[in-house]
Amino acid sequence: MTAAITANLPVFIIIAPLFVAFVLPTLAQRMRLVENLVISVEALMLFGACYLASIVLFQKGIPIIYQMGGWSAPWGIELKVGSLGAFFLLVIAIVSLPIALFARGNLTFEVGGKERRARFYVLYLLLVGALAGMALTNDLFNVYVLVEVATLSCCGLVSARNHPRAAKATFTYLILATLGSCLVMGGIGFIYIVTGHLNMGFASQELGRIWQNNPRVVWMAFSFMLVGFGVKSALFPLHVWLPDAHSVAPSPASAILSGLAVKGYLICLLKVLYNVFGHTLMQTYSVHKVLVLVGMVAIIAGSISALTQDDLKRRLAFSTVAQVGYIFLGFGLLNTKGLAGTLFYLASHAVIKSTLFLSAGAMLAVTGKKNIKDLSGIGRKMPVTTAAFTVSSLGLIGIPLFSGFVGKWHLLLGSFESDNILSVAVIIAGSVLCAAYLFPIIRIAYFESAPEKDWKDPNVPQKLALILLSIVIVVLGVVPGSLLELAGRAAAELLVLQ
């Protein structure tokens, strides 16, 4: 029995949240049970992810291959738990558990009654399941299906907020995201036309052999994939949907959208770029230069737009645009250090941005106001929330001893290694700008006099979630240890192919 479960763990970890998601609506009247089910599924996922990650670390680079339904590779769908998959699965589990915990205490305020809350959890688990699938899948068309599942549940999560503006933001998001997935599907189509394979390994081998026969089709595939995933992961000129959608969504939804959903698309892009096209083909088509360039533009433009926002959640949303820029920049560095740093930065940003959105959500729920200047003196009234906000801000800026620093440090080392001095300058400038848009919030929260109001820290599950996430930020910053090792190994594997 246990042997059967461990052998099928890669698929169980995807199916469990999807299955429970469809059970939840039948239990909508018993909200306690629904919440407990969600938390236990998340806990099981965390357990499974730790197990898979430890196996992958122990096996030193031999991935676990799972064949769906027993059909072998070129015909069947393959799940591959390599270092990258195990790494991202671990990130998903670490971040989504506290968010579910937070949602337990917070949802009534922004989402509403029992029925609506149960539906929120359905979408939440669908999104988590789709993300887990993206982490593990090794099949191009499967990527498309999971991307669509994730997109639809993201849109649903945004529209969970009972407000007309939420519907408008969702519509814009849905239209642009569908445009993006059309492009992704087109890109997959071009790869299939050239290679005749949908399995990433086989497609990559074929591409390496015969891309010269249809160089223009490969070029089209590159550009469709880049623009498609760029729209979905809010790359700078294509980010127009993000600020509205992420700021209007209920706070737990903003946290998972900004923290994890965007990262899921980035991981898919990473897999397509490195596992299908491969870094030699990227160099032939100069894709890595494009990635570094758009990354730098996104860092600067996103940070400056964040500076101009007065609405707290909008400022955080624009900050996500800037941080996505770092990840794109890292994807183009093409060396192990830079790529490992990018992956670690992706993980730490997932934790940090979730914490920021959750603590911002807790503040907004208490004050009922969205503007930064209305938060004066909140630090003394809500010590735990503000402390979590401060810890995550320091992490995002990249102060040593917090997780953002480790990622940024390796990104800098990678930039030096590829002799890209401009990107070094941009990374540092991005950090300074990040401090410029986050420190004023902390200053207002701690050093301005508070109005005579009854503001209190949120209830226990919310506080627990914030404390857990803050601990993760500090622990990853002080002892990055095995997560950094996993990231390093994933980077080495991505670059060694071909």
């Binding site: 529209s159 408008k168 519509f171 849905l174 059309c182 599907m185 189509g189 299939y192």
Partner: protein, 126 residues
């Protein structure tokens, strides 16, 4: 030039897919009516479906049903068509969700024009 035209004529499904895709993308980006945007999305998706299905076609190939009495040497590739079945399902669910959203927007704003909704956005907000 004549080679280009020859190629276009041979690969006419892809050419058609390109034109349909452009029409859809333009509709999505230029029209401010929500329904028209949604129709544009559907047109775009049809173009991708057409491209996929055309990629499975092999000239002179038979329907891929094996028949021992009358064995064929050349079959068309059924996989892209099967994949597009999934694509169509996804497209239907996107459409359904978008229609529900349009309904909700119409109820709160009284219009289906995105530009007018944006103008009204600040009045209805909060």
């Amino acid at each position: 030039m004549s080679i280009l035209i020859k190629k276009l004529i041979i690969n006419y499904p892809y050419f058609a897919a390109f034109i349909i895709f452009s029409i859809g993308a333009l509709t999505v980006l230029k029209r401010s009516n929500l329904f028209k945007k949604l129709i544009g999305i559907n047109i775009m998706e049809s173009a991708i479906f057409l491209m996929f299905v055309a990629s499975g076609n092999i000239r002179g190939g038979a329907v891929p049903i094996s028949n021992n009495n009358n064995p064929q040497s050349l079959y068309i590739n059924p996989l892209p068509s099967a994949l597009m079945l999934t694509g169509i399902v996804v497209s239907v669910s996107v459409t359904a969700f978008a229609l529900a959203l349009i309904l909700r927007l119409y109820r709160s704003y009284g219009t289906t024009d995105l530009r007018r909704i944006s103008e009204m956005g600040n009045e209805v907000a909060e």
